[in-house]
Every structure is written in C-alpha cells, then in structure tokens.
C-alpha cells in the first residue's frame, strides 16, 4: 500500500512540488523584510517573493523535463502523467514564468504589489497542471476548481478599484455557474456508465451496456462547463468584462493558462472517452467552433479599448482551437487533432504574451493608455515595442513568418483531412475579417501622430522581446515543435 502511494505521489510530483512551494512561500513572504518606502498597507514590495516563485516553477519544470518519455500513472488511473500532460505542463509553467516577468514591475507601479499574488499564481498553476493529467472526471472537476478559485482572487487583486472588483465578481459568479454545468454533466455520464474514470467509461462503452441519451447529455454539459473556461460562444459573456477589469498581467495569464488547461481537459475527455459518439458530438463542436470564430471576430471590430479587443480576439482564437477538436473521433485523425490543438495553444501563448506585454508597457495609472488612440505614434517613439505589437498582430491574423500562420496551417489541415470543408472556409473567412482590426492597430501605431508614453522596465521588455522573437523564430523552425506536439499522445492505460 505504501508503495502504491509512493508511485501515485511520484506521478504528480511536479504539482506537489509547486503546491508545497506555494504553501511555504506564503509563510516566507510574511516574514520577508518589507520595503517601507512608498508601500501601501498590506503591500509587500519584496523582490524575493517573485524570485522564489519563479524558482519553484523552474524546479517543477525541471522535474517534468526529466520525465519526458516516461509515462506514469497514479491513484488507480485517476492521474496520468503522459507525453500530453508533460507538453501542457511545460507550456503552463513557461506561461507562469512569463507572467511573473510581466507582473513584477507592473504590480509595483499600480501600487498592488502583494506577495500573495505569486502564491495564488502558483496554486492556480498547480490546478492547471493537474487538469492536464486528470484521467477521471472527478479529478477534472477538482482541478478546475483549484485553477479557478485563485484566478477569481487574482482578477480582483487591484481592489479597491471598482473595475477589478467587478471583473472578479463576474468571473466568480459565471465560473461557479459553469462548474455547476460540469458537475451535472459528470453526474449524467456517471449515471450512464456507472463510472467517472475515463478508462472505465471506455470499457463500458465498448461493452455497449450504457444509456446513450444520458451520456450525450453529459457530454453536452461537460462541453458547456469547460466552454465557459475557454470562452467559446455562447459561453463567452463574462470574457470582455473580466479581461478588461482584471489587472493586465492577470488577464494575460488568465487568457493563456485557463484556455490551455480547459482545452487540455476537453481534448483528454473527448478524445479518450467519447470517440464512439463522434457522429453526434462532432456537429455540436462544428457549430460551436463556427459560432465562436464568427462572433468573436466580428465583435472585436467594434472595440476601441485594446483590452476588450484582445478579449474578443481570445474568444475568436478559442474558436480556432475548437476547430481542431471537430474531427476528434475520426480514425487516425485524433492524433492530428491533438497535435494541431497543442501547437496552436503554444502559438497563441507566445503571441498573446507579446501583445499583453506591450499593453502593460503602455498602461498608465488609473486605467489610462488603454484606448486604441493611445497607440498612435508608437512606431516612431518606441519602435521596438511597436515592432513587438506588430509581430503579435500579424501572428494573430495568421500572416507568415509568424507562429500564428503555422498554427493555423496545421489547424486547417486537420479540419480539411476530417472533411469539414465548410468549417475550414469559415475559419479562413473570419481570419480575413480579423485582419481588419488587427491591422488597424498596426496602422494606428505607424501612420498616426501621437505621443504615447511607455515604461522601460527590464523584465517587461525582456518578456516582450522574448515572446516576439519566439513567435518569429519558432515559425521558421516549427518542425521540432510540431514533432514534440505530435509526440504528446494521449495514453489511456
């Protein structure tokens, strides 16, 4: 029995390290010397906390890297540390590290530098990593809560700023609502098959001894619950308000981390447990993907606030990733489906962080400097930042040589191989629509006159340039990344 527990704990060691580290950091932060000058009440300006948090994430990443190629299973098949989860975990940990880089000076500047922020970030990250490993619906739910609850607090960390509190409350209420859908869906699947373990569900489905209506209802509710988290239409209502109100660094993390984890769970659950029902589920996914791409891109056109624009763009990109899921049940295509979704998640993460880094550099106190007009003249005054933004916008649009182009290429290829020509067409057309508002940002930056003020903070700049260089460099050398993504196969047993 002790041996069992040891192998189980061993399987989720990266998460345990991260969560324990967060617990210790919470206490360490209490006793760290506080920088009294200019610090408000309850604020800790100590630069040691973010450094320690980054160290914890690096340790966790080192453990994950050391285990690539050795799939392990734990807790009686509830947790699965396979190539898929390794890939997602590394992406998430990298996102966490970038978020620390984006946050450090930004939080200080806004007067909301709190040590708890980094602790919450680590807790949320452990939830996301657990989610990518969950091979049991109950674990999917638990890790969803673990990732969500710290995120609600992080969205409201700029309290007493009303917009931040509003964002936190909206995100919390709708998130709790979505969790209800997910639990109900899990309940229906359990009712239909008698188990919440994906492995057992597959066995029951093969034996044919299940209730089809219940399992389809359960699958639909699981899509709804996770759809809230990844912000697909029609479950996207909270996204613009939450993304706009939350501090920009939190929004950057939220949009990448929650989306990655949500899609990880969707991919694992649907590709492993429900391939037999693809005839019924694929049309639903098709419709959701098409709706998300159309509505996200068209709604973004009307946005003048850069944070809202990026929020709608993140909805639209959830639609593109959703496209990869559509042919998930076809023979020989599920691996392509997973690989192209993973690749696009990486592309989205890099591009998104580049764009948000520029937003953070230009944001002024009191939520100023966030309108599109505030970007006028950036090309002349801060050419490097403008270049980063331009690269991000081109990558979002899907113009070579950027990662967004390569990602979209693999997505469309997967969709076309699945025979969904109509959906691919919608994807291409909405990409053309998106070019309008993405290129407008570039036009404003380079062709209009203005005097934008940007911060020169070393970590922020490093993250901005790093992400932008990553977007271009990885697109040119995309083969190794795609190879890694295609190696990240889901293991069932």
């Amino acid at each position: 029995m002790i041996g069992d527990i040891m192998t189980s704990l061993w399987a989720i060691l990266p998460v345990i390290v991260l969560a324990l580290w967060a617990c210790v950091l919470l206490l360490v932060d209490l006793w760290l010397p506080k920088d009294q000058q200019g610090s408000q009440q309850g604020e800790s300006n100590s630069p040691i906390t973010p450094l320690l948090a980054a160290l914890g994430m690096l340790t966790s990443a080192a453990i994950v890297i050391a285990r690539i190629g050795q799939p392990t299973m734990g807790f009686g098949g509830m947790m699965m540390a396979d190539g898929f989860s390794h890939f997602i975990c590394l992406l998430l940990l990298a996102s966490g590290l970038v978020t620390i880089g984006l946050s450090h000076d930004y939080m200080k500047r806004l007067g909301i530098a709190r040590g708890e922020y980094y602790v919450l970030l680590m807790f949320s990250l452990s939830g996301m990593m657990l989610m990518s490993m969950s091979a049991d619906l109950i674990m999917v739910f638990l890790s969803l809560e673990l990732l969500s609850i710290p995120l609600y607090v992080m969205a409201g960390i700029a309290t007493p700023r009303p917009s931040s509190e509003e964002a936190a409350l909206k995100y919390f209420l709708l998130g709790a609502f979505a969790s209800g859908f997910l639990v109900y869906g899990i309940g229906l699947v359990f009712g239909a098959t008698g188990s919440t373990s994906l492995q057992q569900i597959v066995a029951v489905v093969q034996s044919g001894n299940y209730n089809l209506a219940l399992i389809l209802g359960g699958a639909a509710l699981i899509i709804t619950g996770l759809g809230f988290k990844v912000a697909i239409v029609p479950f996207h209502m909270w996204t613009p308000d939450a993304y706009q109100g939350a501090p920009s660094a939190v929004t950057a993390f939220m949009s990448v981390g929650a989306k990655t984890a949500g899609f990880a769970a969707l991919l694992r659950v649907f590709v492993l447990a429900f391939p037999a029902f693809s005839a019924d589920i694929t049309p639903v996914l098709w419709g959701l993907a098409a709706l998300t791409m159309v509505l996200g891109n068209f709604a973004a056109i009307a946005q003048r606030n850069i944070k809202r624009l990026l929020a709608y763009s993140s909805i639209a990109h959830a639609g593109y990733i959703m496209m990869a899921l559509v042919p998930y049940g076809q023979d020989g295509l599920s691996a392509d489906s997973v690989a192209s979704a993973l690749f696009y998640l990486v592309a989205y993460a890099f591009t998104n962080f580049a764009a948000w880094a520029v937003v953070i550099a230009l944001e002024q106190a009191g939520e100023k400097g966030l309108e599109l007009q505030d970007y006028a003249g950036l090309g002349r005054k801060h050419p490097a930042l403008a270049a980063v933004m331009a690269v991000a916008m081109l990558s979002f649009t899907g113009v070579p040589p950027t990662l967004g182009f390569v990602g979209k290429f693999y997505l469309f290829r997967t969709v076309l191989e699945g025979g969904h020509v109509g959906l691919a067409l919608i994807g291409v057309l909405t990409s053309l629509v998106s070019a309008f508002y993405y290129l407008r940002v570039i036009v404003v930056m380079y062709m209009q006159e203005g005097e934008p003020e940007a911060r020169r903070e070393p970590w922020l700049q490093a993250m901005a340039y790093g992400s932008a260089i990553g977007v271009v460099a990885l697109s040119i050398f995309s083969a190794p990344l795609l190879f890694l993504a295609s190696q990240a196969v889901l293991k069932l047993f």
């Binding site: 029995m1 002790i2 527990i5 617990c23 919470l26 206490l27 209490l30 006793w31």
Partner: protein, 118 residues
Amino acid sequence: MLQDYLPIVILVLIATGMAGLVVLLGHLFGPRRPSARKAQPYESGMRPIGPGTRRMPIRFYLIAVLFILFDIEIVFLLPWAVVFKKLGLFGVAEMLVFILILLVGYVYAWKKGALEWE
C-alpha cells in the same frame, strides 16, 4: 424503467395541486382588510426595529471565514477519530498533511492580523 417513478410523479402532482387549490380558495373567499401593521415586513411577530440593512463591522467577515476553516477541520476530524484504528499509520499521515495545510492558512491569517479586533 421510468414507470417505477410513476407514483412519485402522481404524488408530486397531487401535492402541488392541493397546495395550489388551498392558496386559490383562500385567494377567492378570504376577506382582505389591509392595514399599516399588516403591510409591515414580518419579523417573528415583533414590531420591526430599524431598517433591515444595518451596517455590520467587516471584521465579522474574517471571523466567519476562519470559522468555516476550522469547522471543516472538525467535520473531517470527527469521522477520522471514529475509524482511527482501522486506518492506522496511513490515516495519521493523511490527517497530518490536511492539518498542516490548514495550519499554513491559520499562521497566515494570524500574522496578517485577522484575529485582532482593534
């Protein structure tokens, strides 16, 4: 399979029907003499004192959160104590981890001054 639930459906129908009928009859035949006293919100028969939305010290919020924290701890500790011998060393270790995690929260709350009233 669904036929087994027929009696429950009938029961639900009768129950809602009866309740609706009683309310309807009262509504149709009952006398109505509204007065200022009757229009007041019901407060256990007492005369209402002050507005219902009085301001409370926000510190009660922290106390309530801490109460839940330790309430849950007890909820888990009691059944654990009952089967303590059966669980053996494994149970001790598990409970130790659980309490340590709660302890982290407790120390944090303490150091942050959540337990100070002033």
